[in-house]
């Protein structure tokens, strides 16, 4: 059964997109910079004006409050933003599962007391992923989640996303420029061309 279904989604220069992703399946998007990969993800969560339909299981985007839809479909943007002074103020109450994710990504719990300004770009990127996962989305849209990370951190991030996907049977869209990574994490591959056409790539 198709779980996450995008029908005739259109936004700015992007041609209408039709796509369906099964539970626990990962689809990769790649393509030249400026083709609109980030725009497409933002259109899916209804953050920018767009036309078309999106649904997940029996949740229909157009019939839900936009804020509820975004809780369900979690986007990890390429650049992370923080609105409070300390890391911990951006997280909901943590349970044991959450805490184990922190340690898998190499953070002690004291990280919650850190000032955001003292964290490096790579640390912020990993913490933004944790922030998203702790909010408990049922679908993951990941915009280059390992772009600023070294090999070790990158592997840890891939591992934690795969575990999350398997445990909650999430549909996942993963934007990446790294062909090796795409092969490792995704079952289906799509290319977003400069002219805004989304093409399926043969495995």
């Amino acid at each position: 059964m198709s779980q996450f279904v995008i029908k005739q989604l259109q936004c700015l220069h992007i041609s209408p997109v039709d796509l369906s992703i099964e539970q626990g399946q990962c689809v990769s998007f790649s393509g030249p910079s400026g083709a609109g990969k980030s725009i497409l993800l933002k259109a899916i969560i209804d953050l920018i004006p767009n036309q078309g339909e999106v649904r997940f299981a029996d949740h229909v985007r157009e019939q839900m409050r936009a804020s509820d839809w975004r809780k369900l479909v979690g986007l990890l943007p390429a650049e992370s933003f923080w609105w409070c002074d300390r890391i911990g103020q951006h997280f909901p109450t943590l349970n044991e599962q959450h805490i184990s994710w922190f340690s898998e990504l190499g953070f002690e719990q004291q990280v919650l007391d850190w000032e955001v300004s003292r964290c490096s770009t790579g640390e912020r990127q990993r913490l933004a992923l944790l922030r998203l996962l702790c909010h408990g989305p049922k679908v993951l849209l990941l915009d280059e989640p390992t772009a600023n990370l070294d090999k070790t951190s990158s592997d840890a991030v891939e591992k934690i996303i795969n575990e999350y996907k398997a445990r909650y049977q999430c549909p996942v869209i993963w934007v990446s420029h790294d062909q090796q990574q795409i092969k490792r994490v995704a079952e289906q591959h799509y290319l977003l061309e400069q002219d805004g056409q989304l093409q399926k790539v043969a495995a």
């Binding site: 969560i45 209804d46 953050l47 920018i48 004006p49 409050r65 936009a66 804020s67 509820d68 975004r70 809780k71 369900l72 979690g74 986007l75 943007p77 650049e79 992370s80 933003f81 923080w82 609105w83 922030r131 998203l132 909010h135």
Partner: protein
Amino acid sequence: MSVIPLSALDLFIAAGLVVLLAILSMAMQLGLGKRIIIAAIRTTVQLMLIGLVLKTLFDRAHLAWVLLLAIVMLSVAGYEVMARQKRSFGGWWGYGLGTLSMFISSFTIAIFVLIAVINVEPWYTPQYAIPLLGMMLGNTMTGVALSLDRLTTGAYEKRGIIEAQLILGYEWRPAVSEIVRESVRIGLMPMINSMAAAGIVSLPGMMTGQILGGSPPMEAVKYQILIMFMIAAGTGFASMGAVWLGAKRLFDDRQRLRLDRLRLGRS
């Protein structure tokens, strides 16, 4: 005791001071000489004109004329609010937002005070209504302009932070609440400061005028207190209203931040 009339010569002597300032600033190459002279001429012409208008108005106190003048004052204040913003809303919102909130707050408070506090008969007696409204609008305008400017600039600069919260499923209100608070605070600051400094650092203009005109100081003081309270309430309510409406307008029905509704102003 009545006020000593000023002759044209008296004003010429005072104008000499401004000319002296203009000459000095030209010598210092401040690039302000011409602007000082133009501003002084504008003051003279504009005040003379309003003097004529008020004279005519006082002679025939009719509600329609008072309202007409009030609307002209409001329109100009609304335009000033829009012109003072770096980024204002496009279309009618740019003009309507500030004007509407100033209209509701200034007019309601002015009419309320005329009827319930001063109790003048008829309530639109121009000697009371026009100066009260003028002082209200002048100050409210500053507050609303500061608030709206802070709101739109804040939303523009903090786009990433607002959207990061929307992405996590927050409603638009909490996502923008910090900017909203800051905007209202900035709009209210000048008024709070002037209330705190009144009488110690500065003698407010209206009170000074009344005292020069021969009113007993305590009567002038009471009126000044009344005016200060009116201005504080008017500025506060108008700023809150404008920021509330403006923040709502920054988002659409799908809770998206719509910065495309803003356009870059001239200033």
